[in-house]
């Protein structure tokens, strides 16, 4: 199949979910933007909890992606199956990290603000 054919079919497949993709991207960009405005920097800020949570979300995809496709992990059989699934898992992990990492920064900031308010006379 030609690349044009593959792209056309992909476009038809994704079209019904465009709203979901756009909404997800909007959420991601909003959280990143708000965090940046409050001093968050992607690689400067360190949070083990967010990293571990993103890892857990990614690894959980090994279970729920096959389930979402009405299949099961036991049916991931070929090399291409594993490449596709691991790519999806990595994608989920990355998106989760891009969301959870700035979120944890914002939550810590909120706690700090609340703490300083409580401590003030």
């Amino acid at each position: 199949m030609s690349i044009a054919g593959v792209l056309t079919i992909l476009w038809y497949a994704l079209a019904p979910f465009l709203w979901l993709i756009v909404a997800g991207l909007a959420l991601l960009v909003t959280i990143q933007a708000v965090a940046h405005l409050r001093g968050y920097r992607l690689f400067a800020y360190r949070c083990l909890g967010a990293n571990l949570a993103a890892l857990a979300v990614g690894l959980s995809a090994l279970w729920w992606i096959p389930l979402l496709t009405r299949s099961q992990l036991a049916y991931i059989a070929t090399v291409f199956d594993w490449v596709a699934l691991l790519a999806a898992v990595f994608g989920v992990m990355l998106v989760a990290w891009l969301l959870l990492h700035p979120l944890s920064f914002l939550l810590r900031g909120a706690k700090r603000d609340a703490g300083s308010l409580t401590a003030s006379p």
Partner: protein
Amino acid sequence: MSQHLSDPSSLDRRQFLQWSAAAGAAGLLYATQSHARTLSTDARIVIIGGGAGGMAMANRLARRLDGARISLIEPSETHFYQPGYTLVASGVWRAEQTARPNTQFVPRGVDWVRQPATGIDAANRRVELSDGSQLDYDYLIVASGLQLNYHLIDGMTPELVGSHGIGSVYAGMQAAARTSDAIDTWVAQGGGKGIFTAAATPVKCAGAPLKMTFTTLSRLEASGHRDAFEMEFMAPGLGLFTQPYVDQFVKQRFDEQGVTRRHHYRLSAIDPQAREAEFTFVGPDSEFTSHHQLREQEFRGEGEGERKVVTDYDFIHVVPPMSAPDFVKASDLIAEDGPFRGEWLDVDIHTLQHNRYPEVFGIGDVIGAPINKTAASVKAQAPVVEANLVAQIQGQALPLRHNGYTSCPMITGIGKAMLVEFGYDDNFAFLPSFPFIDPREESWAAWVMKDRMLQPAYYAVLEGQA
């Protein structure tokens, strides 16, 4: 009647998505390939049938021909995604997922004739319609689909599907859903005998009877009582599938999964009340291409023909004999000799041009071809018919040849499949679209394609975009 685009200010979400998809696809196509040049013509082109083949041709020709008068004869307001019926009958999809309004696909500028064709007068280039009127044509595309001949099984009607333990994935969207219900009822019984049949004619989606067997096995295994159920597969010939590797694979898998295979039997009668099925032994050399040929062999009494076996069942999956629709069979366009005589449209299986009427082309299930009754075949045939019809209009040699490409995502269980693609040549050799998907392996990726990707691909084909 032509379709009119709605007022853009009143776009609903579905229309917005359709327009987005069309715009995106058009952009992709524009960016990646050159368009064939349009041809100015005042030719009258009639397309019989608005299924996958007819609709794809209507969209392609509406774009390609400038000034042509194109009529699409299609009585149904709804377009059914028939490749989804196996998923509906397997309890994976809801029936409604397979239906969309035809208004979504009929292109602007095409005259949509909302009534069935009842006859073809090929000598006078005329199609007869159900209201008694006639449509004259200069060029005709027969895309009528095929006819399900349940009446050739004594006692069987499509209305029985869903009752008396009878299922049939072919009988339509609702019948597919009722088939799933009938399987659920059988599974809930906790045991009993299930019989899966095949037809002694070419059938659309020839893998569907096998897929139904495999997905039912999945449901029985999921019930935890697989051993309480008997499964039999009754095949009219020695083969279960055209492609030799897949044929052997399926046979081996049936044996491993406890499905008893009986060959050279066709379902000849059914008694729904008694839940009994009668099978006729059609002889050890039976490999048939048409019901006509089978009956002839039976009636000659060759081999052990006419031996009847009556067996009871708790569930039976019925695959009816199939043929071109009666009005095509009654026309001059039907094959007059060869394996498809009296049953299928007489076309050159490579150029898809009629063998005796050069102004007539065929596409889809109706054509007499050894394989090819799938939507995937239509995807491969549509560009061939388009190019060859345009050449015929211009009086040029036909430039394209169909290689018989067909595809069957062979579901081997709910959640896994083999992406089987093959063609006419080299004993139905594989023609894989993707080098990284081995057609001989069961995979999750092939299942995901069947479950999620092929329906969008189908709609792209309908709209002439793929």
